[in-house]
Symmetry: C2
Subunit: 206 residues, 2 copies
């Protein structure tokens, strides 16, 4: 792409560094910003700049936070005996958006993946151990990806918590609501038959 | 989507204002920026901010420019007797990227569209008339969209230039290179047969 303005070219190059943004999409965004009022563009750059410079990570659960402790950990209305273990911040947002979970979180910052050189010491696992020992945590809910790395992480944390008096659960796997049986993968379908529930239970949980 | 950080939420909201960016894509970009070094994020926001505040529009052709006159109009190597008339800046970038055109441009800033309330006076047409009268322009190449609005604009400009000694041409329409005949729309196919070229001509222009 040939630009007649270095300023435009620089802005396009910066946008194209973001994930999933090619040069053409970057150009579309830059031209849109060029059309917007200067004040609105300032609002955009300020929001991005403040986000990067001022966002903190919660000392307790490692979630993104505006202060030392995140709004979820600080909330008096949440059940502090339940901790949901997730891989990253996006998972927290996804679970929070269901508005069905009232416990706390613990963001690992990844999952154990020896092939990628990620072991337990690269993750926020030591602070989890400390948290379970010190605070009155009675249940750890594992909400990790259903793959080998996720299973390894679940197994590692379960073994670590063996001598602690804490219940370890994982989120249910099965056919998604609205999912067509015929398009489900074999493993999920097989598991969902093996782990079938009595109908009254199904109706209650729906 | 529920966020535990207002800073993240604000940045996501700002990104989601850009065209074609939903909340999920916006979040992915924000989390990517959060992972990047502060210096690189500053480079991003500075490039966007400078682009918006410092980009100028060329006084001659209305293309984006870093100064009063754009690099294309200022270039001594370009053929100043040819002016290609385009709708917007994106079209200039597309034609420049072919590296096959060596004349100048004139960016209209839109096309005549009475339904959208865009008449000739909303476009950069007066300056075009002045340009043709003053500078030694011998050819106007119309590179506008092949629809009613584009045709109306071509017709309007042609009539305006009637008593000026200037050749008016339009870019060729036809089946695209690499296009399959069977998938071409009927109008394009019909026109490409009506405007067929002798084979030696075809070979030369390829």
């Amino acid at each position: 792409m040939v630009f007649s303005s270095k300023l435009i070219e620089d802005a396009v190059t910066e946008f194209a560094k973001l994930p999933g943004i090619g040069k053409k999409t970057a150009l579309r965004m830059v031209l849109q910003l060029l059309k917007m009022d200067e004040g609105r563009v300032d609002a955009f750059t300020n929001a991005v700049s403040r986000m990067r410079h001022e966002v903190k990570f919660c000392h307790t659960c490692h979630n993104v936070s505006d202060g030392e402790v995140c709004a979820i950990c600080a909330s008096p209305g949440r059940n502090k005996s339940q901790v949901c273990i997730v891989e990253n911040i996006r998972d927290v947002i996804a679970i929070e958006s269901t508005q069905q979970y009232n416990g706390l979180y613990h963001v690992l910052g990844g999952i154990i993946s020896p092939l990628d050189g990620i072991g337990p010491e690269q993750l926020n696992i030591a602070t989890l151990q400390q948290r379970v020992s010190e605070a009155g945590v009675s249940e750890l809910i594992m909400a990790l990806s259903p793959n080998i790395e996720g299973d390894t992480t679940v197994f590692y944390i379960s073994r670590m918590m063996k001598d602690k008096n804490v219940l370890i659960t994982t989120i249910a796997r099965g056919i998604a609501f609205g999912g067509e049986l015929e398009y489900a993968d074999e493993l999920t379908l097989a598991k969902s038959i093996a782990k079938r529930l009595p109908v009254e239970n199904y109706v209650n949980t729906r």
